[in-house]
Symmetry: C4
Subunit: 380 residues, 4 copies
């Protein structure tokens, strides 16, 4: 109930607020159009999305429901937004690694003088930071999560409907997968030039280019340290994002959270994680950004080593405790969950967080009707 007051919540006020703004004296749509609209609403509700797609009220006047494609993209509006947001993020992120890595040997160029290639490690911080910032602008309508672990935490702590998780997950994964494919297509000549034709290797190979697409840990790291590094980075990520989005966190001069500075603040956050926590495991902190491109690199011929490198390290962003086959928990999910837990435990006072309910929400777990109730709410 109070959830509805948090208008930045993708499930709640934000979009509902918009639909309220539509003047009620509009002419009723025709019968066929109405029926199609009803179908779309139920499809959307099934995915956990608001029945009404979040579009500008001025654009409502169009015969959106008359055309098959218009209906499709209204039905899939938020997943499309997440797809393209993650796509843009990975284009810039993987693109920056590709440029730095592949130009490192390019010491004779006169366009990039000084013999230092076309970038340094810091360029990668820029690339990922810019990718996330612009991806958030692109994915404004869906919340701009771009990361399954973050979507997960918004479901867990901020009342985002759980039903929405699978379709967002799929969209994010595909965004990373396709983005990595475009980067590969763009840099295929440069990779051939760097590694040799049809040679594709991953670290610790000396000329490995597999690091363009996904992360490989430093050799000196123990399994525990691999996990801890990803875990703490994800914890910080989620903790700070919750702070930046917390409208009840009033700073000096009455500002609440980061407000319109949010995308810019995310640039600094991601840049900072790269500059401060990127050395050991490459700050994957995002299954969509790591697993999608990893699969793509496997698909284009980097071989089985993309999975086995670093002692099957890739499980860390995917599934940490591989001895427990039932475990779906992974470092980025665990870290984000812990970061959100910390924030809500010590700082957040909003009622939609289970931490702020009696017994810190554990009671809810024993009362499955709560989940049902939430489901109904999101379907309204």
């Amino acid at each position: 109930m109070e959830i509805e007051n948090h208008d930045w919540l993708p499930t709640a006020g934000g979009e509902e607020g918009k639909s309220k703004e539509i003047p009620s004296n509009l002419a009723p749509p025709q019968e066929g159009s109405r029926r199609r609209a009803d179908t779309m609403s139920s499809v959307r509700s099934y995915m956990g999305l608001k029945p009404e797609a979040p579009i500008d009220e001025e654009h409502e006047h169009l015969e959106h429901h008359e055309l098959l494609w218009s209906r499709t993209r209204l039905a899939l509006r938020e997943p499309f937004a997440e797809f393209f947001g993650t796509f843009i993020m990975v284009l810039f992120g993987d693109g920056s690694v590709a440029q730095v890595l592949l130009s490192a040997s390019n010491t004779t160029s006169t366009i990039a003088p000084g013999g230092n290639g076309y970038g340094s490690y810091q360029s990668i911080s820029w690339g990922w930071g810019i990718g996330v910032m612009l991806g958030i602008y692109v994915a404004g309508d869906s919340g701009g999560f771009l990361n399954p672990a973050i979507t997960f935490c918004f479901c867990l702590y901020r009342g985002l409907p759980w039903r929405r998780f699978p379709i967002y997950f799929l969209a994010q994964f595909l965004g990373g997968f396709v983005g990595a494919g475009v980067i590969y297509a763009n840099y295929i000549n440069a990779i051939n030039n760097y590694e040799g034709h049809n040679i594709r290797t991953v670290p610790p190979s000396k000329t490995a280019t597999g690091g363009v697409f996904c992360t490989y840990p430093q050799a000196f790291l123990t399994k525990t340290s691999q996990f801890f590094s990803e875990f703490i980075t994800a914890t910080i990520l989620m903790f700070v994002i919750f702070a930046l989005k917390d409208e009840s966190n009033r700073g000096a001069m009455g500002k609440t959270g980061a407000g319109p500075f949010f995308p810019l603040a995310l640039f600094f956050l991601i840049f900072g994680l790269g500059a401060c926590f990127g050395f050991e495991t490459g700050y994957a902190i995002n299954l969509a950004r790591d697993f999608g491109p990893r699969l793509m690199s496997y698909a284009v011929g980097y071989g089985h080593e993309v999975w086995s490198a670093g002692g099957y390290y890739f499980w860390i962003p995917v599934r940490t405790l591989r001895r427990r086959p039932s475990s779906l928990m992974v470092a980025s999910f665990l870290g984000c969950t812990f970061g959100g837990f910390l924030y809500d435990l010590f700082i957040y006072t909003g009622p939609e967080s289970p931490i702020n309910t009696p017994w810190m929400g554990l009671k809810q777990l024993t009362q499955p009707q709560n989940l049902i109730r939430q489901k109904e709410k999101s379907a309204v």
Copy 2:
């Protein structure tokens, strides 16, 4: 019709809105002044500009129409803005390349210690990013396109009058041309110092300074990769610009598009393109920024190689398929068109995009009266 509601559109509400704000009880201008004003309006309409130049309503009280120069600059207000915006952009962009390139051998300076010259490749990302950001501030009145391909896409997808394209194109081209000339004048001693007196070469010459003015591709690139690199970069550019300018793309906390953060976001976008896609072909993505300075470098004596280098690569930003003489299509135009198409197909819902009309606007192509109607609209 609905187009008029999008007040950020250079053709529409934005400027019209301003003229509406002028108090109607102003004393009528004298007869001669009125006649001159009418002449100016028709000149402006002929170029596809709004009849009334977009100036502050407080400044309307001046006897603008009395003086020849005042009338001229009101008539050419937007082209002047585009000229100076592109001029500033190229000054910073080419200036950054010049500084990095020409100071690379300057390892003994005590002012720039460390023997690394006065910048690295990253400085070039800064230079172009800052140039675009400041150019947009300068060219506020014209829309701040600074790139013919972007103007083209606003004509195609956002209802900017086609008639405006040629004069904007000319202004942007001249801005790039003159900007490159100023950079050459500024760095002529340094170029002499670097290459030798009256020696002017382009890559792959070891001491080439032609790269200061325009882009030259890496030697290992195939023609297809040259094209793809420019194409994908232009695609991203247009896709993200449409997202940043999309007021119906509501992000978290009710913000719509990038709003006043637009110039800053463009800094990050251009920086990111430089850091992530600048290695292979130098991210020209802009005919005005590449062809204008290229012509200037030819004019000051870099020789025929400015055209033939990289297998007549310069056609890529100008005319990709040189075997088809009728083709005016070029990589940056094709890429931007595709990027705008992607955005409108999957995300944008506004009615001024032909993608959002029946048959995705193809029907309009078969009905030339639409173009006529648009022409009339812009002439009102």
Copy 3:
């Protein structure tokens, strides 16, 4: 009295303003709840905090006072905010030093190509700048001081209750201490890889990693220069922060102070201090950021040298004149005090600064009842 009008003051309007916004027609809480609330209010008043914790009025409806933990975190709301703000700051700051230092020998990596490691000195400027910026967002409810010397100056010059100083000090110190511990845990493998197992040294050892946690001065510095460097840096810090937070400092276009740009401006301020004043003593300028991590590095085994290095230089941020055992004054406190004095003497006109009272507030020192009055004010 006028102090209450400065609503950005943590002690004053800001929080009181919020409580005023609570609709007065709320149903009165139950008796037990009211009693618990009263207890909490007096605990908070004892610490110099406003009786009502600064939380969103919408969140007031919760049964916050029913649960022990809810009461605890309301009572300690601002200290928690300071703790986590400093924690985040030190995570990014020390993390950036760790990454730059520990990856310097990592010249064979293919992920960070070019053989320059995973960052340069500039990365450290980024790390601390980002840490402070994000820490301020996290610690919005407490004022985001993150530095005992800054809290001190707000008590001295801006009417922040002196009673609040100890609990803030403790929170900030613990934030730095715990943050350094997390960084140590995260980078323990990398430290072992760099220094060797169980070898932990501080400068001037060639493989010292002690600099990850706290600052060590350059060898060529005299004691006076050590002090002056820290003093002038702290002076600039406080002077600029007062300018940025000064709502009566109206710049061009009617803006007052930095407003919502404050966290971003702090990024630039801290970055600038690192880039311009970080060479000699490492710009500690913050007891919480230096002493907390120094103690942690001592705890994990860096030995007595963490204290004795640089001729017991660490006293500079802690206690400058070690010959005078009664002196609690330290370089960062002296510098900040001087910076605040300069700003209030030459620029600030607000009445809550003692500089703007007769005899520049010295009269107040001779009239202890003023302090008492202030104490009462903060307890209201």
Copy 4:
């Protein structure tokens, strides 16, 4: 007359607007206080300042006029602001050069690993950019010019009273002079360590540290190129500042000029000038930033070479054409004047620019009563 409507003008609406906001029903001040206030007003008017100092209306209630110091600082409010703004700017700017230069030989440090010292040329761009940004925040009440040539152009083109120029000039010069002194005091040990005790040299000496304080041109530059480089940089500076401050330059989405982004945009502008035009002459573009520190470096013992280096190049920022003894015009002034001329000629439509008056203001020169009228206006 219309000037008064431009409320960002230091001379006009901005401050007058404030004084208007003062409730008129305040109790009249006592007789002695009123007399002192009258004295202050006439002192301020004599300097071309508004009779009422620009302070917050809430702060007006204080007995400002009772205390000598309060009266003094009200009388000198804007000069103090300019002094401290320039002071802060030079601290960061010269500090960044000092750090980069003096740490270049510091390749054994373990705190700044990688053997690349504590910064690179880019750090200097950061330093000056941050210095200008923060200086503008500090000098909000005076307009934040920080540069005599910019003050000059605001007098010439924007109706700032000419009488204000001398006191601003003095304040800016002293700010640079004192700032350079603080930097020298801070880095004296490091300079001794770098050059040797009591050895102070300027370029082209191999160990010169004179470049910390002021600019020295590259050896390969001709006199004309020295002049052109400074001239074009100053032109760009003024042109872009006028664009950023032009509220009638409406960009996309209704924003006017840079608005509250102005200090941030200046960061990017100055950074860009450093990255793109800093190689040849060091982008002095500011007499206060170059002449003040140059005099200080002479005062502390850098010898006569601070004046004679580069063929008395220092005249370029001071007096370009030294053969014409009557000329007070200098490169930075000429460049800024030309940049402002360009902007007003092609883009600006406001009536306070003489370019927008008949005969482009030349008529005014022949009618000295205009100057008198302006003088009266500023004294009202």
